[in-house]
């Protein structure tokens, strides 16, 4: 079956959504929005879906403060982040590439990330670029650490990383990202070459299950139509014809 990298990533993200939980999608996150909308139409019809600024999925009427306060009270079970850099400890960098005071690239800043990474129950990281410049040994600035000492109140943290090449899982024991699966047609070596830190693969190299025919039909039909209200360019380019 033919599918795009975005369709595969959305299907992988959808599997992480549990029925009945509260799932929130932040800014510039069309892929998580696609995955969550797929899950809500497939196995998680009772999930509460929040997609920032989507006319059908955003109940907050008093600015970002109302949403942040909601999250700070521990009401978000699943959230999504990306990063200019992501390292093997699950640290995210949204501040700057290079030295902070003389950066090569100034990134947009953390906004809610240094809070949501602690207060959401689980966070899935996503990047549409899986290269050694993104997946680095150690991030240049830590906007949000993957784990924290026991004196720091923390409800959640990283759960998975989803890229066009592979799925990584965060091991809370070792506090490191490990390889969970490689996408169909790829080898461990190919994913390792694209990753700037040594990949640990305690369960070997399973293949990520591809999207099913039902996944693709839902993504290319109702999910595309709903996403077009917020992400019109993504909705046109990410999916194959229904």
């Amino acid at each position: 079956m033919t599918y795009t990298p975005e369709e595969l990533m959305a299907a992988v993200i959808a599997r992480e959504v549990r029925d009945g939980e509260t799932v929130a999608v932040g800014t510039l996150s069309p892929l998580p929005a696609a995955g969550v909308l797929l899950a809500a139409r497939r196995h998680a019809p009772r999930a509460t879906v929040l997609i920032i600024n989507h006319e059908d999925y955003w109940p907050f009427r008093n600015g970002s403060k109302e949403f942040y306060d909601f999250a700070q009270r521990g009401k978000i079970d699943l959230f999504f982040h990306s990063g200019g850099q992501i390292d093997q400890l699950g640290n995210l960098n949204l501040i700057a590439i290079g030295e902070h005071d003389h950066p090569v690239i100034r990134l947009p800043g953390g906004a809610g990330a240094p809070m949501l990474y602690y207060l959401a129950g689980r966070v899935i990281l996503f990047r549409t670029e899986h290269t050694p410049r993104i997946f680095v040994e150690r991030v240049d600035c830590v906007t949000s650490p993957g784990s924290s000492p026991p004196r720091v109140p923390r409800r959640g943290g990283p759960a998975k990383v989803v890229t066009p090449l592979a799925v990584l899982a965060f091991n809370p024991g070792s506090r490191r990202l490990e390889l969970e699966s490689v996408h169909p047609g790829l080898s461990f070596e190919e994913v390792q070459r694209s990753t700037g830190f040594p990949l640990v693969a305690p369960r070997g190299t399973p293949t990520t299950p591809p999207p099913t025919a039902l996944d693709l039909a839902i993504l290319r039909g109702p999910v595309r139509a709903s996403l077009a209200k917020l992400y019109p360019i993504f909705a046109l380019s990410a999916f194959l014809a229904a």
Binding site: R61, Y118, S144, P153
Partner: protein, 171 residues
């Protein structure tokens, strides 16, 4: 709120502690856990653009923004509004959050005042203009060209609206 600082959830263990020395780590006196404090931001002046304002100075602001917080943190608040309406019409508006005129120091009628960003119900994002801005803002020299065309060469706001393709909004 008028408080000197607030504790913020999360953040501890990130580089914010290193990069922002004014953020202070303390033991929460109630739980004993580590918590980061951030000092209050008290702007001398804030500038807001409202969807509508009424003749009493009350504002209708976009629901997605935190302008009400910003206004209530600032000593002086200068608001511009795309439309000036009656207090009755402002109360009936179906979208937006209201900010009492008691927080507003000065109000300017500025139709098209959100351009090149959008003003809900009035005009959308001007993507071509934002692309031009990004291109010209890449260097000081080219940014002078931008300022010359859209600021210095224009006699008044009506002329800007003409340049922006929003002449129909001019009062």
């Amino acid at each position: 709120m008028g408080v000197p600082f607030l504790p913020v959830p999360g953040h501890v263990g990130s580089d914010y502690e290193r990069l922002r020395p004014e953020f202070r780590l303390i033991a929460d006196p109630y739980s004993g856990k580590d918590v980061l404090l951030v000092p209050a931001i008290a702007p001398d002046v804030s500038f807001l653009h409202a969807l509508q304002a009424d003749t009493e100075g009350n504002l209708l602001l976009d629901e997605k923004e935190d302008d009400c917080l910003l206004a209530q943190a600032s000593r002086v608040v200068v608001a511009s509004a795309d439309e000036i309406v009656t207090p009755e019409a402002l109360r009936r508006a179906p979208y937006g959050v209201r900010l009492s005129g008691i927080h507003v120091t000065a109000l300017v009628h500025a139709p098209g005042g959100a351009h090149p960003t959008a003003c809900r119900g009035r005009y959308g994002l001007d993507e071509a203009h934002i692309r031009e801005y990004l291109r010209l803002a890449a260097s000081d020299d080219s940014f002078r060209d931008y300022l010359q065309r859209y600021v210095f060469d224009l006699t008044d706001h009506g002329a800007y609206l003409g340049e922006a393709g929003l002449a129909a909004l001019a009062p």
